[in-house]
């Protein structure tokens, strides 16, 4: 049930959007004829301003929203079973959404628990994950309200990774953190991804973050996909919107962008 990186057919995309449209009941169009393939093991960043439809796109993958037209294919044999689909996909959001009445350990173990993992296995996995996201094992018995913002989001990531999903959906996960913590978490996430090779669909409106984390950047505007480019090409792109973005973030380019400046 959990997609196994080893036995995939390498060229099949992990996620595919085919002519997907999403309309609100009021008639407002959020996504229009959206086509995109997300390759296995890549971090695809959805970049755009508020209202461009990026969060909607994300939610269509784990069926929190259903498309008005078109289809989204996710690698793995899920059929109509939305629950199984969701349990095979990790989800990290900006507000984190940890259960306030569960300890850190229980929060991380939500999916393993409902999947019926034996206690020792859950316990071991929690330790492993806490270490992976850089948290002290002693925090396992604390409650979310006792943690800092950065610590909470680390737990959020650990929780998403608990059942070892092949796909991670992340919606501006570091947006609510202070710049120092954000920087820290971004670096650590890159390191983590080098170990785990998850397929990541990452939403942000921050070009710096996109350049730093993404293996490809998909630029969205008003519900349409404008262009999909690797970071270096994005910086040099002729596309009007992409160029506008680059200009707007020009100040940021001179600082510690991993992919460097002009």
């Amino acid at each position: 049930m959990l997609a196994d990186v080893a036995h995939d057919t390498n060229n099949d995309p992990a996620i595919e959007f085919r002519h997907v449209s999403y309309e609100l009941p009021s008639g407002q169009v959020i996504l229009e004829d959206f086509n995109l393939q997300v390759r296995r093991g890549e971090i695809l960043v959805l970049l755009g301003r508020s209202g461009s439809g990026k969060t909607t796109t994300l939610k269509l993958v784990n069926r929190l929203l259903a498309p008005t037209r078109g289809e989204i294919q996710v690698a793995g044999d899920f059929g109509d079973d939305v629950i199984r689909l969701r349990r095979s996909i990790g989800y990290v959001i900006q507000e984190v959404g940890l259960f306030p009445h569960f300890t850190v350990e229980r929060n991380i173990g939500v999916v393993p628990r409902i999947e019926g993992w034996p206690k020792e296995r859950m316990h071991a996995r929690t330790r492993e994950l806490l270490q992976m996201v850089g948290l002290d094992a002693a925090l396992a018995s604390r409650y979310p309200h006792q943690l800092s913002g950065g610590q909470r989001q680390r737990v959020g990531v650990a929780r998403a990774l608990a059942a070892d999903p092949a796909i991670l959906l992340m919606d501006e996960p570091f947006g609510a953190l202070d710049p120092l913590t954000r920087d820290e978490l971004q670096r650590e996430f890159i390191a983590l991804q080098q170990r785990l090779h998850k397929t990541v669909l990452f939403v942000t409106h921050d070009l710096n973050e996109a350049l730093r984390l993404g293996s490809r950047i998909a630029l969205m505007e008003a519900g349409k996909l404008i262009t999909v480019l690797p970071p270096e090409e994005f910086l040099r792109s002729d596309d009007a919107l992409a160029a506008a973005y680059v200009r707007a973030f020009a100040s940021g380019l001179n600082s510690s962008g991993k992919r460097g400046a002009s």
Binding site: P100, H101, F102, T103, R106, Y143
Partner: protein, 319 residues
């Protein structure tokens, strides 16, 4: 503290406590046995109190049972519910009231028939037993001033109907409203008064009659003030009013457990006449004597406190 941990442990404690207390409450609510205690109820007017007190003292005198009084219950329905629910074991009711208010039947005129019918229905439907009637009929009474009765030689309502056009009538609210009240009466006797009847509080009717503000009133046959104010009750010769015989109503279950109750209360059967009830009512309402004393004196006078070794006639001769 942690929501989860508290929930599990506290919940168990809470649930246990809840179940324990519910069981306690339910079991006590369900059991209507007062062991050796008999609870007597009454409605909230003087006559009912007196009857309740008479029954209570009778039981104390002739059985080993402890008696508890729950008087002043606010009406027929309340008493009925209380006896059904086992909160009281006995209370004094009227056959006519039981017929119309509880059994919801149209009133008839035959005393015996109504008594038998009510007795049967009560046993069948409610497992309640009616003991023999106490002897008086507290029906509606059409009253006129004693002097008018003597002067015009009036004894019956049909006779008095002739003078109605010259008279003013006064009635209580209930009598005006009930279909078996004024409307039916006027039809039955062809009563037509000078002007529409005055409506006022029951307690004021007797005074108004005495003070010549009205000439005919609808009161209760056992009103204490009737002899006191020299009022005369016209005979209902056309038998318009249904009978309201006073009867003790007892839970059959209580009777089964304490058969001696039946004997003790049956001795009251037929012992109170209309006139005697009037007098008792007056003693309490008019003379302001204590209900307990009034009841005790009456029972003594009638020899009802004596043990039931001899026939009632012989017992009475003893005084």
């Amino acid at each position: 503290m942690t929501l989860r941990r508290i929930t599990a442990r506290q919940m168990r404690q809470f649930v246990t406590l809840f179940i324990a207390s519910s069981t306690l409450v339910l079991s006590s609510a369900c059991s209507s046995s007062h062991s050796d205690r008999i609870v007597i109820g009454s409605k909230n007017f003087t006559e009912s109190l007196i009857l309740g007190e008479l029954m209570a003292q009778q039981i104390v005198a002739h059985t080993n049972l402890r008696v508890e009084r729950r008087f002043y219950l606010a009406g027929t329905y309340i008493c009925h519910q209380a006896i059904l629910g086992g909160r009281i074991d006995i209370y004094p009711e009227y056959t006519g009231t039981a017929l119309t208010a509880i059994l919801k039947q149209r009133p008839g005129a035959d005393r015996k028939q109504i008594y038998e019918y009510v007795k049967g229905e009560y046993e069948k439907r409610f497992d309640l037993t009616l003991l023999p009637p106490l002897g008086f009929n507290n029906t509606f009474a059409m009253e006129i001033r004693g002097e008018d009765a003597r002067r015009l030689q009036l004894k019956m309502l049909s006779q008095a109907a002739r003078y109605a056009p010259q008279w003013r009538a006064g009635f209580g609210y209930e009598f005006m409203e009930r279909p078996d009240g004024y409307q039916g009466l006027a039809a039955a006797y062809g009563l037509r008064f000078a002007s529409s009847p005055r409506v006022m509080d029951l307690g004021l009717l007797a005074r108004a009659l005495k003070d010549r503000q009205i000439d005919m009133a609808a009161g209760n046959a056992t009103d204490g003030l009737i002899p006191a104010l020299d009022l005369f009750v016209l005979d209902d010769d056309r038998h318009y009013f249904p009978p309201y015989e006073a009867v003790p109503v007892v839970r059959s279950e209580t009777l089964r457990r304490h058969p001696e109750l039946a004997d003790a209360l049956a001795r009251l059967g037929g012992k109170i006449s209309d006139g005697e009830m009037q007098q008792l009512n007056y003693d309490v309402d008019g003379s302001h004597r204590d209900v307990k004393d009034v009841a005790h004196d009456f029972l003594k006078k009638k020899g009802l406190l004596e043990p039931a070794s001899s026939t009632p006639a012989a017992g009475n001769l003893a005084q």
